[in-house]
Symmetry: C2
Subunit: 140 residues, 2 copies
DNA sequence: CTCCTTGACAAGAATCCTTCTTAAGTAATA
DNA sequence: TATTACTTAAGAAGGATTCTTGTCAAGGAG
């Protein structure tokens, strides 16, 4: 997601704006986040356009769709292998660039062809840390 | 989720049926899956009852809510720490009982108070393996 | 240059999943 | 068995996403 150009998709003002917004964005925005952020610049842009564009970018491998926020898609323009630190209170997502060895034996994979992995850490971020409340599952 | 009894919640026929259905279930069903499965037995049961019951069970630590299926909640009655192998085609989820060391330094956590973690492996299951199609992100 | 094809757009309808509201019902307890 | 608080069913409501439709713009062929 570093250059705003692509020979595989038609570049329209809307798409350029979305890609610029995503470039370097570490907030893992939802479709609505993107939509709202570009409202001023493109008052007539449809939310469907955001979804369409994200779907296109996803298929091209320019963004990764995250399912860390139940009931909401969020997108990560950083396609380098990395993991996430998720605040269970405010849903903030921090990137972690640590490489963990995650070996699986053939017996454990049970015929699955492994293509990738994702590690999510759950916790309370610094900002939310002042008012802890509920006990959380330690593994899911 | 091994015994169908609980002193912290009122046991109704619907709840007993849901708990029995979940007991030993490794399919990680969604609310709708549970609802449909119990339709014959409880034709009048509301989907809201399934959601209510799952919320109650979740708060009691009897099930874990998974967000592996975008836009859909799925539940895991196995509350032992374990990880998942997810088929990107048919959304089948297999449990893996392997313990990976996932050390994070204070610098990496950036003030986050880590409460738990989750490792998801993505791939193609044996059944879907016959007709591979698209290239997948190796890490998300 | 003009026609034609293709893809992208906006707008809103439709759908899916989940939560909320309300009135009626029922399990737990004494 | 009576009380009480919790649970239920039903449907409305809400949020997120997808679909449909008609319009529009860009690029290629003639």
């Amino acid at each position: 997601m570093s250059d705003v150009s692509n020979k595989n998709m038609k570049m329209t003002p809307q798409r350029i704006a979305i890609m610029k917004y995503l470039d370097g964005n570490t907030a893992h925005p939802s479709a609505a986040d993107i939509y709202v952020a570009l409202q001023e610049q493109f008052p007539t842009m449809s939310l469907a356009t955001v979804y369409n564009t994200m779907e296109t970018l996803k298929q091209q491998g320019a963004v990764v769709e995250l399912s860390i926020d139940p009931g909401k898609k969020r997108f990560d323009p950083n396609t380098q292998p990395h993991h996430h630190l998720i605040c269970i209170k405010c849903k903030t997502v921090l990137d972690i660039f640590v490489d963990f060895p995650l070996p699986l034996s053939d017996r454990e994979t049970g015929g699955f062809q492994i293509l990738g992995n994702r590690v999510d850490f759950y916790g309370i971020c610094k900002t939310c840390g002042d008012t802890p409340r509920e006990m959380i599952q330690t593994n899911r």
